[in-house]
């Protein structure tokens, strides 16, 4: 009886799948926007977001990741990890080629990781510091041997983090000034066609792509439209098919979402999981006092900001680890909006109305209003806040020089605490000159030790214990304010199918997309 039922269900679900699965069709050029215009589109040279969005369709890494961040094959068709977590072996696609026709081999992998990226990419350099050797036993096999176990290593093979660069073009040249940088050569589903600066970047289908039948689209046009409302208009009047995450102002999202033939997804950000934070200067002034920082957490009405400024998208974070990060300790009590408690804490520490300088992040309207909301929340509990507006160059400089009391930022979590979270809290990461390290100046030996142990522990069960303890300490000491796990929706015409299928969204999304027109 049970067996028959199972069989029936299987048949029914199979039938349903067949009925609903539409056969992807080839053809069509998709129009989207890129904001801001990237300085270049060579994956290895520039690491900013717009470069990665465009170049992720030209260049590839060994793996890609689904929306739960499980690795999927890309240039590596298969891979194994040894029992002790020290040896990673990748088996490469044998018929992958570069856009200029040269075969893609293990020598390219060794060159890209061991030579090119070690020189060019500070973030990748840090990951590769765990690697003892990179070897190519044959043309289509690469073996990474690690110095110590490093759990998140399998997450590092994303196109923006570990892009494969052609050895035959770059070996023994100056990577930054190589002439070939004007004409990217990758292995990806789309080839570079032209870049009319200030106007449009055009990619065309790679007819010789090694995955049979892919891509479906004939090409991608990335329009350069510097004004946010003009971008919204371009979508409204039909020139643009896709508005990528963070390309229009938040207050336009509800209106645009209601347009005909418009779909919206919040997926495709899982790998990055942008986390908005409030740097609090742990070195001097009232913000150096733990009670003041706790008071700030109680003073903030984070639900209000999410619901009003972010259209209800995103999550109010519990503590230092976002909900997409592994190893979140969800037994911690949340910091509720409690102005009374905030005032008590301020009284207890003896805060006497010293001026607190708040540095907003100049990323557009939403962020300006957010800074106003924070200022108001803090004033309500008696904190004397002055806002200091600046442009992006000034913002970088002020943070890099530690010249602030409170400051907005948002950081990517990269799917694992050792890649995206520990960098904010470990004291070895305190150094002037960067707005992305331990800018707040937090020092706690136990936290340092726990993050250290957790990064190299194996298997995951052991990492979890360390991370949970670290979160307890951070939760109490509040080195930074945890504002919001941001939800950036992507808007697109509903007849564009399979657009966002991975955890890095549009950065490699057009490979599987097709038009149902």
């Amino acid at each position: 009886m049970k067996k028959t039922l199972t069989l029936a269900i299987t048949i029914a679900s199979l039938a349903a799948t067949y009925a609903w699965a539409e056969e992807p069709r080839s053809g069509g050029v998709i129009n989207t926007v890129i904001q801001p215009e990237p300085p270049g589109i060579i994956a290895g040279v520039h690491q900013n977001a717009p470069t990665q969005t465009v170049s992720g369709n030209i260049y590839e890494s060994l793996l890609r990741y689904d929306t739960d961040l499980n690795p999927m094959p890309q240039l590596a068709r298969d891979w194994t990890v040894s029992e002790d977590g020290l040896t990673y072996t990748f088996y490469l696609h044998e018929d992958a080629t570069w856009h200029d026709g040269e075969p893609f081999t293990s020598a390219d992998v060794v060159f890209s990781t061991d030579v090119y990226l070690r020189e060019m990419n500070p973030r990748t350099r840090t990951i590769l510091s765990h690697v003892k050797s990179i070897e190519a036993p044959d043309d289509h096999t690469v073996v990474f041997t690690l110095k110590n176990a490093f759990g998140p290593f399998i997450l590092a093979f994303e196109a923006g983090t570990m892009p494969m660069m052609p050895k035959h073009i770059y070996e023994n040249t100056d990577f930054r000034t190589n002439e070939a940088n004007n004409h990217p050569i990758g292995t990806g589903p789309f080839k570079f066609e032209s870049w009319d600066r200030g106007r449009v970047i055009k990619l065309v289908k790679n007819e010789d792509y090694y995955e049979e039948g892919l891509p479906y689209l004939d090409g991608i046009n990335w329009h350069v439209i510097p004004d946010a409302s003009s971008r919204a208009v371009a979508y409204e009047n039909g020139t643009i098919d896709v508005l990528p995450a963070n390309s229009v102002e938040n207050f336009d999202i509800p209106r645009l979402s209601k347009l005909d033939n418009t779909c919206r997804t919040e997926q495709g950000q899982e790998y990055f999981s942008p986390f908005a934070m409030l740097w609090m200067n742990n070195r001097e002034g009232p913000t150096a006092d733990k009670r003041f920082r706790q008071a700030v957490m109680y003073a903030l009405d984070r639900e209000f900001v999410r619901d009003v400024l972010w259209n209800g998208l995103g999550k109010v974070p519990l503590s230092s680890f976002g909900s997409n990060a592994s190893f979140q300790n969800d037994s911690l009590p949340p910091y509720e909006h409690d102005p009374e408690r905030a005032r008590e804490l301020l009284d207890e520490m003896g805060y006497e109305g010293e001026e607190i300088r708040l540095l907003p992040i100049p990323y557009g309207e939403t962020w300006v209003r957010w800074a106003e909301a924070v200022q108001q929340n803090l004033q309500e509990v008696g904190i004397n806040v002055s806002t200091q507006s600046t442009d992006i160059g000034g913002w970088n400089q002020r943070l890099a020089e530690w010249d602030y009391d409170l400051a907005f930022t948002y950081l990517f979590q990269y799917g694992d605490p050792a890649l995206g979270i520990s960098r904010t809290y470990i004291s070895s990461n305190i150094a002037k000159g960067s707005p992305w390290n331990n800018v707040e100046g937090y020092k706690n030996e136990r936290v340092d030790e726990l993050f250290d142990l957790a990064a190299t522990a194996y298997p995951d069960k052991k990492r979890e214990e360390y991370y949970h303890e670290a979160q307890e300490i951070l939760h109490d000491e509040v080195p930074v304010g945890w504002l919001l796990e941001l939800g950036f929706p992507t808007l697109y015409r509903c007849d564009v199918k399979n657009l966002v299928t991975t955890g890095i969204g549009l950065n490699d999304g057009f490979k599987n997309a097709w038009f149902d027109r």
Binding site: N31, N48, I225, S230, G393, N396, Q397, L411
Partner: protein, 325 residues
């Protein structure tokens, strides 16, 4: 002969002024917080001291400021404007790439505002005591007082979104490989909204200026003489009043013409017009010193050139000025 010497003197002075402007700009830009390396590293979302040093060394920013100044000035002397840090392209090429679009936009707006402004102004002067004259002036006041970006956005909402008559943004239609006349037509269509938006404000200024200046000139004795001679009112308006009223308008036109390179940042941004104004704004945000200085140099040179041209035109329009100088 004397006149030729005067022009040479003016040119010599212009070179000195330009040189001072270059030096002044250089220090001004370096006073802004942050440098290109910090901004580029900031965009990357990750950085370390090694990365920053690599960038600074590559850009030559690790050298003392006076060495950088010397390098820059000696480069300028040989018309070498250096490389854009961010785009890794010669500054001269970047500017030349954007210049046609900007000149097309600002040039069209210039001709449009000057022509229509003088026309509307003289009409208003001729009908100074009539309702139609007041109407023209009221309209001019509205254009004069309305912020440019608002006009731009409303024009897009009306003509592009609602009526669908004109393209909302851009320089040409992406994805259609037009050539020849079809391309000219396409660019022309894209030009209408931004050029009109840009022209409205200065058109209002010219209208007001022309009217006032003409009313003033019409009080002069030679106008009474002309009337007494029995000349037709139209002829008096054109030959006797308008010509004599032109001087202040030329001054204003000279000022506006000097701003043609960098004066359209807002319009270029709203309409995604790929011009110099946007290039300059982005260069400022990214602290791309060489590019910014290059654009400053070009616009300063243009302002100076138009100053000289304006002075020459004065002489043509009013021979008395030529003689007194």
């Amino acid at each position: 002969m004397l006149y030729a010497r005067l022009i040479i003197m003016r040119l010599l002075k212009a070179v000195i002024v330009l040189f001072l402007i270059v030096i002044f700009n250089f220090f001004l830009i370096h006073m802004a917080p942050g440098d290109p390396a910090v901004v580029m590293a900031g965009e990357a979302g990750a950085t370390d001291a090694e990365f920053l040093n690599q960038l600074r060394e590559q850009f030559g920013l690790d050298q003392p400021l006076y060495v950088q100044l010397w390098n820059y000035v000696s480069g300028i002397a040989t018309l070498d404007f250096g490389y854009s840090y961010r785009q890794q392209t010669p500054v001269f090429d970047l500017i030349m790439d954007r210049l046609p679009a900007t000149l097309l936009l600002t040039g069209t707006a210039f001709v449009m505002s000057l022509g229509l402004g003088i026309l509307a102004g003289s009409m208003a002067a001729a009908r100074a005591k009539k309702l139609s004259g007041s109407l023209i002036m009221a309209l001019a006041l509205v254009f004069y007082a309305t912020p440019l970006f608002w006009v731009a956005l409303m024009a897009v909402m009306l003509f592009s979104v609602q009526l669908e008559w004109l393209p909302a943004y851009g320089y040409y239609t992406v994805g259609t490989d037009l050539t020849g006349f079809a391309l000219v037509l396409d660019i022309g269509q894209h030009l209408i909204l931004p050029a009109t938006t840009l022209a409205l404000f200065s058109m209002a200024v010219y209208t007001r200026m022309t009217r006032t200046s003409m009313l003033e000139a019409s009080q002069q004795d030679y106008v009474k003489t002309a009337r007494a001679k029995g000349l037709a009112p139209g002829v008096i308006q054109r030959r006797h009043i308008l010509r004599n009223a032109l001087l202040p308008i030329i001054t204003l036109a000279g000022l506006q013409a000097g701003q043609m390179v960098g004066g359209a940042i807002l319009t270029e941004t709203v309409f995604a017009w790929p011009g110099i104004g946007r290039l300059m704004f982005e260069a400022l945000m990214q602290r791309d010193y060489n590019l910014l200085l290059g654009i400053f140099f070009f616009s300063a040179a243009l302002v100076i050139a138009f100053n000289i041209i304006t002075d020459l035109v004065y002489g043509l329009v009013d021979p008395r000025i030529k003689e007194s100088s």
